[in-house]
Symmetry: C2
Subunit: 116 residues, 2 copies
Protein backbone atom coordinates (compact mmCIF):
# COMPACT_ATOMS: atom_id res chain seq x y z
CA UNK A 1 0.00 0.00 0.00
CA UNK A 2 1.24 3.46 -0.87
CA UNK A 3 -0.38 6.66 0.42
CA UNK A 4 1.17 9.87 -0.88
CA UNK A 5 0.13 13.50 -0.51
CA UNK A 6 0.19 15.53 -3.68
CA UNK A 7 1.96 18.42 -1.96
CA UNK A 8 4.93 16.14 -1.22
CA UNK A 9 5.41 15.03 -4.83
CA UNK A 10 8.15 16.80 -6.79
CA UNK A 11 7.04 19.15 -9.55
CA UNK A 12 8.90 18.94 -12.84
CA UNK A 13 8.72 20.86 -16.10
CA UNK A 14 7.48 18.32 -18.65
CA UNK A 15 9.31 18.02 -21.95
CA UNK A 16 6.35 18.72 -24.24
CA UNK A 17 6.76 21.00 -27.23
CA UNK A 18 3.86 23.45 -27.24
CA UNK A 19 3.29 23.36 -23.47
CA UNK A 20 3.02 26.69 -21.67
CA UNK A 21 3.06 27.25 -17.90
CA UNK A 22 2.74 23.53 -17.19
CA UNK A 23 4.29 21.50 -14.38
CA UNK A 24 3.93 17.78 -13.82
CA UNK A 25 3.82 15.49 -10.78
CA UNK A 26 3.75 11.69 -10.72
CA UNK A 27 2.06 10.62 -7.45
CA UNK A 28 1.73 6.95 -8.52
CA UNK A 29 3.73 5.35 -11.30
CA UNK A 30 5.38 2.22 -12.63
CA UNK A 31 8.26 2.67 -10.15
CA UNK A 32 5.73 2.19 -7.32
CA UNK A 33 4.73 -1.19 -8.71
CA UNK A 34 1.42 0.04 -10.10
CA UNK A 35 0.24 -2.91 -12.23
CA UNK A 36 -1.56 -1.08 -15.02
CA UNK A 37 -1.96 2.68 -14.65
CA UNK A 38 0.16 5.69 -13.69
CA UNK A 39 -1.37 8.81 -12.18
CA UNK A 40 0.08 12.14 -13.24
CA UNK A 41 -1.07 15.59 -12.11
CA UNK A 42 -0.65 18.63 -14.31
CA UNK A 43 -0.77 22.16 -12.96
CA UNK A 44 -1.51 24.66 -15.73
CA UNK A 45 -0.88 28.25 -14.68
CA UNK A 46 -2.72 31.39 -15.77
CA UNK A 47 -2.36 31.74 -19.55
CA UNK A 48 -1.13 28.17 -19.82
CA UNK A 49 -2.01 25.13 -21.88
CA UNK A 50 -0.80 21.64 -22.74
CA UNK A 51 0.28 20.81 -26.31
CA UNK A 52 -2.35 20.07 -28.91
CA UNK A 53 -1.69 16.40 -29.50
CA UNK A 54 -3.02 12.86 -29.76
CA UNK A 55 -1.64 9.48 -28.73
CA UNK A 56 -2.63 5.83 -29.00
CA UNK A 57 -3.82 5.60 -25.37
CA UNK A 58 -6.55 7.17 -23.29
CA UNK A 59 -6.48 9.87 -20.62
CA UNK A 60 -8.60 9.58 -17.51
CA UNK A 61 -9.03 13.01 -15.93
CA UNK A 62 -10.28 14.55 -12.71
CA UNK A 63 -10.17 18.30 -12.14
CA UNK A 64 -8.79 18.96 -8.65
CA UNK A 65 -8.79 22.77 -8.78
CA UNK A 66 -9.68 25.59 -11.11
CA UNK A 67 -11.40 25.71 -14.45
CA UNK A 68 -10.58 25.71 -18.13
CA UNK A 69 -11.44 23.99 -21.39
CA UNK A 70 -10.56 20.88 -23.35
CA UNK A 71 -10.03 21.79 -27.00
CA UNK A 72 -11.02 19.03 -29.39
CA UNK A 73 -10.09 17.98 -32.94
CA UNK A 74 -12.27 20.65 -34.58
CA UNK A 75 -11.19 23.41 -32.19
CA UNK A 76 -14.39 23.09 -30.15
CA UNK A 77 -14.04 23.91 -26.47
CA UNK A 78 -15.65 21.91 -23.67
CA UNK A 79 -15.60 23.62 -20.26
CA UNK A 80 -14.04 21.74 -17.35
CA UNK A 81 -14.06 22.70 -13.67
CA UNK A 82 -13.29 21.30 -10.26
CA UNK A 83 -15.24 18.09 -9.73
CA UNK A 84 -15.37 17.09 -13.40
CA UNK A 85 -14.17 13.76 -14.74
CA UNK A 86 -12.95 13.27 -18.29
CA UNK A 87 -12.24 10.46 -20.70
CA UNK A 88 -10.14 11.27 -23.75
CA UNK A 89 -10.16 8.23 -26.01
CA UNK A 90 -7.08 6.96 -27.88
CA UNK A 91 -6.19 9.12 -30.91
CA UNK A 92 -8.55 11.98 -29.97
CA UNK A 93 -6.64 15.21 -30.58
CA UNK A 94 -6.98 17.53 -27.59
CA UNK A 95 -5.37 20.09 -25.35
CA UNK A 96 -6.17 21.41 -21.90
CA UNK A 97 -6.21 25.20 -21.44
CA UNK A 98 -6.58 27.25 -18.29
CA UNK A 99 -9.20 29.98 -18.75
CA UNK A 100 -8.90 31.58 -15.32
CA UNK A 101 -7.17 34.93 -14.96
CA UNK A 102 -6.28 34.23 -11.33
CA UNK A 103 -6.11 30.51 -10.49
CA UNK A 104 -4.19 27.44 -11.55
CA UNK A 105 -5.94 24.58 -13.30
CA UNK A 106 -4.90 21.36 -11.57
CA UNK A 107 -5.95 18.04 -13.03
CA UNK A 108 -5.31 14.34 -12.72
CA UNK A 109 -4.32 12.71 -16.00
CA UNK A 110 -4.01 8.94 -15.61
CA UNK A 111 -2.46 6.86 -18.38
CA UNK A 112 -1.36 3.25 -18.90
CA UNK A 113 1.97 2.91 -17.10
CA UNK A 114 3.84 2.09 -20.33
CA UNK A 115 3.48 5.77 -21.26
CA UNK A 116 4.87 7.32 -18.08
CA UNK B 1 -14.40 12.75 -25.33
CA UNK B 2 -16.59 12.60 -22.26
CA UNK B 3 -16.68 15.31 -19.60
CA UNK B 4 -18.95 14.57 -16.65
CA UNK B 5 -19.48 16.42 -13.37
CA UNK B 6 -19.50 14.25 -10.27
CA UNK B 7 -22.60 15.96 -8.92
CA UNK B 8 -24.56 14.80 -11.99
CA UNK B 9 -23.67 11.12 -11.56
CA UNK B 10 -26.29 8.92 -9.88
CA UNK B 11 -25.48 7.66 -6.40
CA UNK B 12 -26.24 4.02 -5.67
CA UNK B 13 -25.96 1.84 -2.58
CA UNK B 14 -23.27 -0.70 -3.43
CA UNK B 15 -23.96 -4.37 -2.78
CA UNK B 16 -21.03 -5.04 -0.46
CA UNK B 17 -21.51 -7.08 2.69
CA UNK B 18 -19.85 -5.25 5.56
CA UNK B 19 -20.23 -1.79 4.05
CA UNK B 20 -21.72 0.93 6.27
CA UNK B 21 -22.89 4.37 5.18
CA UNK B 22 -21.40 3.96 1.71
CA UNK B 23 -22.70 5.21 -1.64
CA UNK B 24 -21.11 4.69 -5.03
CA UNK B 25 -20.92 6.67 -8.27
CA UNK B 26 -19.43 5.60 -11.59
CA UNK B 27 -18.36 8.75 -13.47
CA UNK B 28 -16.42 6.81 -16.14
CA UNK B 29 -16.90 3.12 -16.88
CA UNK B 30 -16.85 0.37 -19.47
CA UNK B 31 -20.20 1.61 -20.84
CA UNK B 32 -18.48 4.88 -21.81
CA UNK B 33 -15.97 3.01 -23.93
CA UNK B 34 -13.13 3.41 -21.45
CA UNK B 35 -10.44 1.09 -22.84
CA UNK B 36 -8.82 -0.11 -19.61
CA UNK B 37 -9.97 1.53 -16.38
CA UNK B 38 -13.24 2.49 -14.68
CA UNK B 39 -13.44 5.35 -12.20
CA UNK B 40 -15.74 4.90 -9.22
CA UNK B 41 -16.28 7.40 -6.41
CA UNK B 42 -17.23 6.25 -2.92
CA UNK B 43 -18.81 8.56 -0.38
CA UNK B 44 -18.41 7.20 3.15
CA UNK B 45 -20.59 8.97 5.71
CA UNK B 46 -19.86 9.68 9.36
CA UNK B 47 -19.33 6.35 11.16
CA UNK B 48 -19.05 4.54 7.85
CA UNK B 49 -16.57 2.16 6.26
CA UNK B 50 -16.13 -0.12 3.26
CA UNK B 51 -15.87 -3.91 3.76
CA UNK B 52 -12.59 -5.41 4.86
CA UNK B 53 -11.64 -7.31 1.74
CA UNK B 54 -9.07 -8.15 -0.91
CA UNK B 55 -9.27 -8.80 -4.64
CA UNK B 56 -6.94 -9.76 -7.47
CA UNK B 57 -6.72 -6.23 -8.88
CA UNK B 58 -5.39 -2.91 -7.70
CA UNK B 59 -7.15 0.23 -6.48
CA UNK B 60 -5.95 3.67 -7.50
CA UNK B 61 -7.25 6.27 -5.05
CA UNK B 62 -7.52 10.02 -4.73
CA UNK B 63 -9.18 11.64 -1.73
CA UNK B 64 -11.54 14.37 -2.94
CA UNK B 65 -12.94 15.43 0.43
CA UNK B 66 -12.65 14.59 4.11
CA UNK B 67 -10.30 12.36 6.03
CA UNK B 68 -10.10 8.83 7.36
CA UNK B 69 -7.87 5.79 7.43
CA UNK B 70 -6.99 2.79 5.31
CA UNK B 71 -6.89 -0.31 7.50
CA UNK B 72 -4.36 -2.90 6.33
CA UNK B 73 -3.89 -6.66 6.67
CA UNK B 74 -2.55 -6.43 10.23
CA UNK B 75 -5.15 -3.90 11.37
CA UNK B 76 -2.70 -1.02 11.06
CA UNK B 77 -4.25 2.31 10.13
CA UNK B 78 -2.77 4.74 7.62
CA UNK B 79 -4.32 8.22 7.66
CA UNK B 80 -5.71 9.60 4.42
CA UNK B 81 -6.97 13.10 3.75
CA UNK B 82 -8.00 15.36 0.91
CA UNK B 83 -5.20 15.59 -1.63
CA UNK B 84 -3.77 12.12 -0.94
CA UNK B 85 -3.25 9.48 -3.59
CA UNK B 86 -3.25 5.77 -2.85
CA UNK B 87 -2.22 2.52 -4.48
CA UNK B 88 -3.63 -0.68 -3.03
CA UNK B 89 -1.90 -3.59 -4.74
CA UNK B 90 -3.70 -6.77 -5.84
CA UNK B 91 -4.53 -9.08 -2.92
CA UNK B 92 -3.76 -6.51 -0.20
CA UNK B 93 -6.53 -6.75 2.38
CA UNK B 94 -7.85 -3.31 3.25
CA UNK B 95 -10.82 -1.17 4.16
CA UNK B 96 -11.47 2.56 4.06
CA UNK B 97 -12.96 4.13 7.18
CA UNK B 98 -14.21 7.66 7.77
CA UNK B 99 -12.79 9.08 10.99
CA UNK B 100 -14.53 12.46 10.89
CA UNK B 101 -17.43 13.16 13.22
CA UNK B 102 -18.86 15.78 10.88
CA UNK B 103 -17.82 15.29 7.24
CA UNK B 104 -18.11 12.70 4.50
CA UNK B 105 -15.02 10.96 3.18
CA UNK B 106 -15.17 11.08 -0.62
CA UNK B 107 -12.60 9.19 -2.65
CA UNK B 108 -11.87 8.06 -6.17
CA UNK B 109 -11.32 4.33 -6.47
CA UNK B 110 -10.26 3.38 -10.00
CA UNK B 111 -10.16 -0.27 -11.05
CA UNK B 112 -9.65 -2.26 -14.25
CA UNK B 113 -12.95 -2.04 -16.16
CA UNK B 114 -13.49 -5.82 -15.97
CA UNK B 115 -14.35 -5.36 -12.30
CA UNK B 116 -16.94 -2.62 -12.62
Amino acid sequence: MIIRSLNKVTKTAPVMEGAREVTKQLPIGAADGSPVFSIRVFTIGVGGHTPYHSHPFEHLNYVIEGHGVVVDEAGGETPIKRGDFGLILPDERHRYRNTSSTDDLVLICAVPKEYE
